[in-house]
Amino acid sequence: MTSVTNCPVNRTVTDLRNIISSGSLSHPKTRRIAEEILELIEDVAWGRAGSEHLNAVKSLTLEMMTQSDDKAGFESGKKLLSDLEEHFEVFASHVKTHNCSTGDCVKLAPAPCQTACPAGIDVPTYLTLIGMGMDAEAINIIRQDNPFPWVCGLVCTRPCEFMCVRARMDKAVSIKFLKAFAAERAMSEQSYQNPEKEPDKNKKVCVIGAGPGGMSAAYYLALKGYQVRVIEALPVAGGMLMVGIPRYRLPREVIDREAAMIQELGVEFRFNTRFGSDVTLESLKAEGFEAFFFAIGAHKSLKLNIPGENDFPQVIDAIDILRQVALGDRRMPGKRVIIIGGGNVAIDAARTCLRLGCPNVTIAYRRTRSEMPADIEEVEQAEEEGIHISFLTVPVEIVGEKGKVTALKCLRAEMKETEGSRRKSPVPVPGSDYFMPTDAVISAIGQQVDAEGMLSLSDLKWTRRHTIDVNMTTMETSCPGIFAAGDAVTGPATVIEAIGGGKKAAESIDRYLSGIPQPKMPRVPVRQSRADFLQVPAATKMVLKRPEMPLLNIDRRRTLFQQVELGYSENAVREEARRCLRCDICGRCGKCVKICRDKMSIDALKLGYLNFDHPVATDFRSTEERCIACGACAANCPNHAMQIQDVKGERVLSLCGTVLNRQKLLYCEQCGATLGPARYLDYVRKRTDKAVSPSIGIHAFCGACAKKKAAISHSEVMG
């Protein structure tokens, strides 16, 4: 029988099992060696192999081949050696990263939340650690992939929560806020520590831009032993985190504290230093820098391209006002302000204006609420604070007199299907024009890369979207030794994408400077651990609800730049962590459901969340209504997610720690052997036609004792 798996490790396990079970290995010593090899390869497939495993496999295989009287052993060994040689990188990657990119080694397949994270953070592991109260350990796990757990705990767009399997049941686990809690607690307790650096490599790397991408690359490069200098045009670290995100969402101290952790590793920051004018590529090369990472962001606003835009000083770019306020300017742009746009920057600009004292703040957005790209929580909070959103509003002209803006001329729009597209677009209604009186207009329709400082890099290729053209697998640009990531590559995107890009670039820079070939495929996220399950009763698992985030009172929100989201209580955090379904262990293959329903004809598992496209109802509590605790589901679970154990007189069935069923065990009255729960015994009895009864009358006996009893009784009757 040949295996159909794509993973050479998994294939080797299957092939070896087949060879051993087929009996083709004639020599006992060859069989023993083959079993030892299988055990070692299973360790690799399980992610529990050490650095010596592959060498041990190789020497055992060579030993197996020396058994001259066993031809099958020789042939099997030859094939194994050839597979090892051909796919050595894959075997080594399993050992090193505890990851199987094909997902065939199911024990190493990352959870959907982890694969969704652009930085590849091992979410289930750190959630479990948080659930155990091990906040510092959770932060250590996060920082293996993301050096900004606190920042991301407050402002991440959380792709992980969109893919969270729990959302198929009720609501996604509140991953983001749990991360923020753990980071804050660890920082407060001084247990937020940097890992050990590798020995100094005596090589210098220059990072241009102290935003999340640049600082992430600096962090991972410093850990690898490189001397890193970060140059930054602004007077502070943080990039868009600092000057693009308002303080009521992300306090400055959070950025400062996490940036300080990077500085602590020896990374040198040079502020107020602009690439292209204060320093050049040549001057940096002359200082000994061998590789460069550009993470310059996208700080230049897009133009509205409507009449009047360039005629009045009260027409401002959102990104400019956010920057000025972040750097200390508190002047109100006007009493009546209109912000044009529907993204998070528009919402940020509007809420900032409110806090500057503007009494009348309106957002003009050309589509409807459901199309608004801003985070729904941000939109809701903005409206609570008193910001008005004018939907289906298309600005067509900024009007004013004597050098001052007086109104924004708009058209009403309708959502209509346009030709060739089934999707609706806003179409202006002819003759619907009207004026919205205002003192200032803020444009928040997007940003692009400011390429001015980069013009000296004549060989640097740009995309038609005016972003730096890179190989997305390695972040290499068209210039050797120059790498780029973040908004400068993707266009305005998310913090976590910039962090993921920075980490990826650091790995590629390390390879570049070490002379190692670059990968051809994107890296897959790395499982950092296999944390123990949190034991949760089924009823608790079902009724635990995602907690609401407590907010600052509305008066302060309308007047101060104080943080709006106040954070969960410790109890809420620990309880929320228990809602995680541990998809790092349960691969949602559905074998348990099928076995229970189709083979055992019991149908006790109501796990509708297993299906991505068409999830149906899930109820862990209903399992105990029908489950006989036979253990067929657990026996067929490829990843030990479903477990059945006898504990303190009960047979307990659990799925990733969620206790689905507990049934009292019965024991043989004669010898004390475990018989199983009554329901299971009934099931067996019905299907065995009482041929072997495990009980006699009201007494419970195991098969052997029942036979003995029956024999004694028979002889007494006959005698």
Binding site: T115, F162, N344, P373, S425, R465, P492, A493
Partner: protein, 72 residues
């Protein structure tokens, strides 16, 4: 913006865009969720962030995506 945040999509074909790389061919047929739509200029040419089931999060051109809800 033509796709909404949280919308379920399918990668139904190879993109014509320059950003498409050969290894992305294996994504064709996969389903996912729009995580970060075009935030700015409602540009059908803009890249959108998509989380694909089992294959991570990527910024992809819109011409290779179709909304699954549209078929319902």
């Amino acid at each position: 913006m033509t796709f909404r945040k949280g919308q379920k999509i399918e990668i139904f074909r190879r993109s014509e865009d320059e950003i498409w790389e050969d290894y992305m061919d294996e994504y064709i047929g996969l389903h996912g969720i729009i995580v970060d739509p075009d935030m700015a200029i409602n540009d059908p040419d803009a890249l959108v962030e998509v989380s694909l089931e089992g294959k991570g999060t990527h910024r992809l051109p819109q011409d290779c995506l179709r909304a699954l809800e549209d078929e319902d």
